[in-house]
């Protein structure tokens, strides 16, 4: 058993933190739009958003790997024009995670916005407030459980990703070797002791995160009534 190295965990949390922030910024306007629109293309967009839930991570990973490599126009643009290599780097990993965790941010937010009393939003418009002021002052504060669920689950889901990360990032220590990949490697070299410790840490963190979410939601439900 080698000496424990916590760098993979730090990398996992860094990746999850950055992904969560980026996703919140992207998903907030999209989920709001989805919750309010009667556009007939809405089901198509919802289906695309939900794809990462059902796709095998290898399929998603393969497409992202291809898109980011110098074989695709996008990858070539990044590499030749901007001088940024996207494959097997932390930046590439962030992009892959954003796709992978997208539905976990959009769906709770959209569900939260849809459950809001429409009259409450209209009362805000009538009070002279625009959409942005209404989202931040009325909508988000009244869907706190959904908001917390979206943030925490996105973070936790990104920490827990494996297949996509392995395909897009490989396993470069300090760059793309996150906790889940590190465990896989311990098992491959039959270092079960380290694999046990890493796995136990992941299990404990995941449980505590989920417990926190459910405790918070129970508290909120008691405070604001069951309909929240």
């Amino acid at each position: 058993m080698s000496e424990l190295d916590f760098e993979p965990f730090l990398l996992s949390f860094k990746l999850a933190g950055i992904t969560t922030v980026i996703l919140f910024i992207i998903a907030l306007p999209l989920s709001w739009w989805l919750s309010q629109t009667k556009n007939r293309f809405k089901p198509i967009i919802e289906a695309v958003v939900s794809l990462p839930i059902v796709l095998p991570p290898s399929v998603l990973g393969f497409y992202i790997l291809f898109a980011l490599s110098h074989n695709s126009p996008l990858g070539a643009f990044f590499e030749e024009t901007l001088g940024i290599k996207m494959v097997f780097t932390f930046s590439g990993l962030v992009i892959a995670s954003v796709f992978y965790s997208f539905p976990f941010m959009v769906q709770p937010l959209q569900g939260g916005f849809e459950s809001l009393n429409k009259n409450m939003l209209e009362a805000s418009y009538i009070a002279g407030k625009g959409k942005i002021a209404t989202i931040f002052n009325v909508a988000l504060p009244n869907i706190k459980p959904a908001l917390i669920t979206a943030l925490i689950i996105t973070f936790a889901h990104t920490v827990g990703e494996f297949g996509v990360v392995l395909m897009v990032g490989g396993s470069i220590p300090g760059e793309t070797k996150v906790a889940s990949v590190a465990i896989y490697e311990f098992v491959e070299v039959m270092d079960y002791g380290s694999a046990h410790i890493y796995s136990a840490i992941m299990l404990a963190i995941s449980f505590l995160v989920l417990l926190g979410v459910y405790l918070f939601n129970q508290h909120q439900n008691r405070k604001f009534g069951v309909h929240v």
Partner: protein
């Protein structure tokens, strides 16, 4: 002065109807909007608020709110809206609900005082009773000193005592602010007490337009009073018949002769009135 001439197709439970309303409303008027459900009352209110699209024109004190080329968004219409379900901001205290509309603490304090909510100003909406919530909603609607106050069955979810209290509040606020008010209501006593004009909608069209006195006092000719009721039963008692009629929550008996008894059917709606002598009122 409000000029309103709007048309809109509605998909109601009883099929498609065309809302077609053309009215003028004087400044400071208190207009009651009545009619069976599905007749387009709420939609008309929402069109006025800018919450729903419609064809036609709306102008308020010479400013166009709606015409063929544009629709003024609700944010710029300077209206107050009281929803049937209160629609208070659940994340804000009573006072914050008012100040969110306009940071005018003096007006907020004044409104809360008139409606006797001063002591509750730091409470959250979910800790209030229905009547208290609706009073907060009423105060909130007046915070931007609206040109038009729209109320969609504001008192229908409240018990009779609370209704009377709120009718009193609405009346005193209307006297003080002189806001042109349009209220959807089904309750004749409420309409009589508050409104100076009633409009009745049916299938999207105005079928009646007049003062509450003309429209609600149903007495005809020499009738002294009359009540609408449902004929529950006709009982034969010796040579006469007794009709049992339900009027609101009360049951009354009226004597009929044999011919009259034949002309009525159990279950039909009837008017109970008297002509021969003046009614008297006693304490109950």
């Amino acid at each position: 002065m409000i000029h309103l001439d709007v048309k809109k197709k509605l998909h109601g439970s009883s099929g498609d109807i065309e809302l077609n309303v053309n009215i003028g409303i004087q400044e400071g008027e208190f207009l009651a909007l009545a009619g069976v459900s599905g007749s387009g009352k709420t939609t008309l209110l929402r069109i006025l608020a800018g919450l729903e699209d419609a064809r036609g024109t709306i102008s308020v004190s010479g400013i166009p709110w709606l015409d063929a080329s544009k629709k003024l968004p609700p944010q710029h219409r300077k209206i107050g809206f009281v929803f049937q379900d209160y629609a208070l901001f659940a994340n804000m205290s009573v006072e914050q609900n008012l100040l969110y509309v306009k940071k005018d603490k003096e007006l907020a304090d004044h409104l809360l005082q008139i409606t006797q909510l001063g002591e509750l100003k730091n409470r959250m909406p979910n800790t209030l009773s229905g009547g208290q919530k609706q009073r907060v909603s009423l105060c909130r609607a007046l915070m931007n000193r609206p040109k038009v106050l729209l109320m969609d069955e504001p008192l229908s979810a409240l018990d009779p005592q609370m209704r009377t209290k709120l009718q009193h509040d609405i009346l005193s606020l209307h006297k003080e602010f002189k806001t042109t008010t349009i209220m959807v209501s089904h309750d004749p006593s409420e309409i009589y007490r508050l409104a100076n004009r009633v409009i009745v909608l049916e299938h999207g069209n105005i079928i009646q337009n007049g003062t509450p006195k003309e429209m609600l006092l149903k007495t005809k000719g020499s009738q002294k009073f009359t009540f609408k009721g449902e004929l529950l039963d006709i009982i034969k008692a010796d040579v006469i018949f007794i009709a049992v009629v339900a009027i609101g929550q009360q049951i009354v008996e009226v004597v009929l002769d044999a011919n009259e008894a034949k002309s009525f059917k159990i279950g039909q709606n009837v008017n109970v009135g008297t002509k021969a002598f003046s009614p008297s009122i006693s304490h109950c």
